[in-house]
């Protein structure tokens, strides 16, 4: 009987696939950072009820949440070069539509998509920030930006971190769709490698293991970070038995 499942191959090929892990992580982290900026901007527009922008951002969030990411990837992939061609035509510019690195389409789409989801968690987190502290900031003469940076965002981060952590994990797994824009990240590379020996099943098992481990590591890191940020919420003052007792009773 032929070897139906090559157990050893599952592990022996992992180092080869791992060479593509940096691309996967790069896509995930860069689009995560962009999505945080987009999400923050969208959240602030909604909170401040800025007239026209409010409509646009509501439309954007609704569209991003109402369409599949794979469709969005295709849309970007075809739309951006098309827009460039129009620009070339009407403004006499000479952008080369073929010279755009495909990874930019991927980053753009993931950032926009994730930004729409993040905007809601960021908005909720910002609105949960204690009014009193913000007021204290205003009263001492902080500018709007200083209040945002020194008071609102640090507190909102603590609230939003678990949700944003989940969204990063979702993003890492989502990067396997980058092949749509012909970017070779880990899954795409795996498929290419497997086509040499047609051991596709082993390849998917290897990939599953890698994604799973990466996710677990990230979860751990997030939990650790969250704990550090929240340290004051559970710290017991060691030098004061009464306080400690009070906390234990609580």
């Amino acid at each position: 009987m032929p070897k139906l499942f090559d157990f050893e191959l599952v592990f022996s090929q992992i180092p080869e696939i791992l060479r593509y892990l940096p691309i996967t992580l790069e896509i995930a982290f860069i689009s995560m950072i962009l999505s945080l900026l987009i999400g923050l901007a969208t959240a602030l527009i909604k909170i401040k009820q800025i007239p026209v922008l409010r409509r646009i951002s509501a439309f954007y969030v609704s569209f991003m949440r109402g369409t599949p990411i794979i469709v969005q990837l295709y849309l970007t992939f075809y739309a951006v070069p098309m827009v460039l061609q129009y620009i070339n035509y009407y403004y006499g510019t000479n952008y080369n539509t073929n010279s755009i690195p495909p990874i930019l389409f991927v980053l753009l789409t993931f950032a926009l998509n994730e930004g729409a989801y993040n905007s809601e968690s960021i908005r909720a987190a910002i609105q949960s920030v204690d009014r009193g502290g913000i007021e204290a900031g205003h009263a001492m003469g902080m500018t709007t930006f200083q209040t945002l940076r020194r008071i609102i965002l640090p507190e909102a981060l603590i609230v939003a971190l678990p949700t944003l952590g989940n969204s990063l994990i979702g993003l890492i797994k989502g990067t396997s769709l980058a092949f749509v824009c012909s970017v070779v990240e880990m899954t795409a590379a795996g498929k290419l490698l497997a086509s040499r020996n047609f051991r596709f099943f082993e390849m998917y098992v290897s990939l599953a293991i890698i994604y799973w481990v990466v996710t677990i590591v990230l979860e751990r890191l997030m939990a650790h970070w969250e704990k550090r940020l929240k340290v004051n919420e559970r710290r017991l003052p060691v030098d004061d038995p009464n306080q400690r007792l009070a906390q234990e009773i609580r």
Binding site: G132, G133, A136, A139, M140, G141, M142, R150, P237, D239
Partner: protein, 250 residues
């Protein structure tokens, strides 16, 4: 010196502050008493534009602001030269006591961290919290939190400190420690406006007492004048209601 002229504040149709005129000389302590809902907090909050007044003039020394024409810079000037002590303390809950006091020094006054920490420590010593510097607000009692709030105000070295019922949210046994800190600040010659229901305290430390009702100053005078021989019928009624044994005290 702080001077308020013809100040009006409306919330919609609700006229909360009506044509208030008030002058506080340097080093003076002015106490505002009056029934709750009469607009005392709103008056204080108009001084540093936590509420935007409809009309009037606010002057700090020779800096005069017509509130109808107040620019962002004017508002920041007023806020940076006044400090507010809040009824609910309004500390930043993810910062320690010393960080709370440092915040305005570093962010607003651009003092360097080291210097700010030294200053903050001095003021925390001053309010009797030398052993609570690294505690977070939730690890402090109400009285201790309010003393941090007062240290924060003192450290900013403002032209005038506004106290909005600084002891009203405290358990009775903690009122004394907070009043003691305010009393010390008054003795040092700080200029202060204090809204308070602690009549015997007000009587003891105020240079002038203002009786405020339905958005207007009804009566104004030395504590002796206002408490012993109130001229206005409303003042008499109010003092009778708070029912203090003035003639037996002190």
């Amino acid at each position: 010196m702080i001077q308020i002229k013809g100040l009006h504040k409306k919330f919609g149709k609700h006229h909360v502050v009506k044509d208030v005129n008030l002058t506080v000389e340097d080093g003076q302590v002015i106490a505002i008493i009056g029934p709750s809902g009469s607009g005392k907090s709103t008056l204080l909050r108009c001084i540093d534009f936590l509420e935007t007044p409809q009309s009037g003039v606010i002057a700090l020394d020779d800096f005069t602001v017509d509130v109808t024409k107040a620019s962002k810079r004017d508002i920041l000037y007023l806020r940076r030269n006044t400090a507010m002590v809040f009824q609910q303390f309004n500390l930043l809950k993810y910062k320690t006591a010393v960080e709370n006091v440092m915040e305005g020094l570093v962010t607003v006054q651009k003092m360097n961290e080291k210097e700010a920490r030294v200053t903050a420590n001095t003021y925390l010593d001053h309010v009797g919290l030398h052993d609570r510097k690294d505690y977070y607000p939730r690890e402090l009692s109400g009285g201790q939190q309010q003393r941090v709030g007062i240290a924060r105000a003192l450290a900013l070295n403002p032209k005038v400190i506004l106290f909005d019922e600084p002891t009203s949210a405290l358990d009775p046994e903690m009122v004394g420690e907070v009043l003691a800190v305010i009393r010390a600040a008054a003795k040092e010659g700080r200029t202060m406006i204090i809204v308070s229901h602690e009549m015997s305290f007000v009587r003891e430390i105020a240079d002038r007492v203002v009786f405020f009702e339905e958005g207007s100053i009804v009566e104004e005078g030395t504590p002796e004048e206002v408490f012993r021989q109130p001229k206005n019928e409303r003042t008499k009624q109010f003092l009778a209601r708070v029912n203090l044994p003035f003639n037996y005290e002190i």
